[in-house]
Symmetry: C2
Subunit: 372 residues, 2 copies
């Protein structure tokens, strides 16, 4: 089980993406419209689209670009946002979500994308794809706008599990480093461990223990460990990857989104204040749009589930077609880079003895460009 | 020890504020300049200013508005940002911070203000002022810009203690409600308990327990309990007070500050992009300044230490004169409202049996305007 699903695909065949058409707030038409946008930019990828065929067929027929590239897999059941994960696990065999994951499980597709219920998708992913050997708690990683040159930082876990012990945090560091290398093209990502201060004596016991575990793996794991990071470093430029437990990470993520939304509202109010400020807004429109584009959450839409045999991208439930296209593109990019295999190799290498290090590192360095 | 320091002050005498002149990043001249700004707006308050007299005397002499209102208390020692709290507790008797707190302890002043080392100030406050009966862990509360009509929400704890059990979270709810009543003039504040979802089955065990404890006190405590809140509610309008442990609260606070700083940078870059956008920026200047004023952290500068015999306001270490003036004003407003006594009464009432409730509520309702 340690090799991931992409091994099954023909050596030079097109990448196949498994897409859940159901479960998003805006319905399957938005998912198909998002696929269509992605298909305009990418001419090779193939899609398996899961959901009620009678509903999906006419939607796909209308998009000429999807002709011959999109196979519909009929699944009548739909997981709703209110469904309890444990209920879906026991009774969800007929759902589009289950079918979407099983295409990755049986090797037909390299990566899965869903807009559905996060808790159900995570539990079902663990059950159907299984955890990577050496991973106790999988994590959800997001890209967060930042002051760094690459424009984004990685943060994980943002809510797969509300608990994480020191060993879990070490795995998050390794998985986050792999994601930053493959998703942000950083040779040697800088990892920070989220805490309430940067002094080494501060914080909870498991954080001090995780601090030492991560520091000890930095050399072998090909990352730089900057030590403890603070909340301000998540959108900052002191590190590229922020490691934390899913409780803290989820609250930080939503606090950041809420703060951006508040400032957006203040900005609109400031420019709607008087006739003169409305004129100024017209003149400033290009600049304001430039700002909006940089903080638009749809640009990098998608939490990535890490630590499973196969990659799953969770798109925001409320995503519009642009957001869906971004999630599909993220999934494609990760599949294309062979991310799943690289990550599995990293985790296996960390679990094995230090002697195994050299051979493994040589493999990943090819991608990193340090050994072409 | 259950009655607070303001009992010692003459019934109608001016309020006395105890100010630590040292420990801020910008030195005592900034503190004195902040006092001067506040003194322009407020003509009655008196100040006890703590620090090296030889350094403070000439600074105060230069400000005519402070003449006759500012008494200097010579203290040679200074607590630096690097000093360990435990070291200050054992060896800090000669410091301006110690002297500042002792003026509240011995009843000479109603409230203390310091820009210094947060950890040292909290530990010293606990040792010199003592915790209120019924409070195990004091908390630091901040005002957070929000979508609510009052413009700000209260959040606590933002870093007094990295742990909080269910009983602590209940006390935070009671203290936060008192702060919102006195600091934001809300009759019946809405309290939310920070968690990773709003469903009652989610989250850590101590949060579910705290949920039930807080719900049971809502009627007697004269607040509304909205249940679990998420990170997005901190700057939102679903509640007025957000209750959490100091680890999570500190990370949320710094994530919010970091996000605001990132968006500010993006905004500047968007308007500096081209000659045309620089012209637009000139025309939009008034609107941009209106925005800046609403998210300016100096407007509501100051974390308030709650749960002690006496009120302590911690100003941001990097505060400029405007920020210092805001912290002093916050301290004055809280002292003026008799906040310390009200909060102590609330905590005592919650600890006592339900029969005691009626008498206590009548007292606070006068201030709330429901029983004039």
């Amino acid at each position: 089980m340690s090799s991931s699903a992409q091994d099954n695909r023909p050596a030079n065949g097109p990448l196949v993406l498994s897409i859940d058409a159901m479960g998003g707030d805006r319905g399957p038409a938005t998912i198909v419209a998002g696929l269509d946008i992605f298909a305009r930019r990418n001419r090779s990828a193939q899609f398996l689209l899961h959901g009620p065929a009678a509903q999906l067929d006419p939607l796909v027929q209308k998009k000429r670009r999807l002709a011959g590239r999109c196979e519909i897999r009929d699944a009548q059941g739909v997981v709703s946002m209110e469904d309890k994960p444990s209920h879906v696990m026991r009774n969800g065999q007929d759902t589009s979500m289950w079918s979407t994951l099983d295409s990755v499980r049986n090797g037909e597709a390299t990566v899965a994308v869903s807009c559905g219920n996060t808790g159900a998708l995570m539990l079902l992913s663990m059950v159907r794809l299984r955890k990577l050997p050496g991973v106790n708690r999988p994590a959800i990683a997001v890209l967060w706008p930042s002051k760094n040159p690459q424009g984004f930082n990685v943060m994980l876990d943002v809510g797969a599990d509300i608990r994480a012990d020191a060993q879990d945090l070490l795995k998050y560091a390794l998985m986050g480093a792999s994601y930053a290398r493959n998703g942000l093209a950083l040779d040697r990502p800088r990892i920070g461990l989220l805490n309430v201060g940067t002094e080494e004596h501060k914080g909870r016991a498991e954080l001090k223990q995780a601090h030492d575990l991560i520091a000890a793996q930095a050399e072998q794991g090909n990352f730089e460990f900057v030590g403890f990071a603070e909340g301000g470093d998540i959108p900052g430029d002191r590190c590229d990857v922020i490691v934390t437990d899913g409780f803290t990470g989820n609250i930080a993520l939503k606090t950041g989104e809420g703060t951006a939304s508040l400032i957006g509202q203040f900005l609109r109010e400031a420019f709607a204040y008087s006739p003169l400020s409305r004129v100024a807004a017209l003149l400033a429109l290009t600049s304001l749009k430039r700002l909006q584009a940089r903080i638009d959450p749809r640009r990098k839409n998608g939490g990535v589930f890490l630590g499973l045999n196969g990659t799953v991208v969770k798109s925001h439930g409320a995503a519009d077609a642009t957001g869906v296209a971004a999630a599909v593109e993220l999934a494609y990019d990760l599949a294309q880079s062979g991310f799943g295999d690289r990550l599995a190799a990293r985790i296996a290498s960390a679990a094995s003895t230090a002697e195994d290090t050299a051979a493994d590192d040589g493999d990943e360095q090819k991608k990193d460009g340090t050994d072409p």
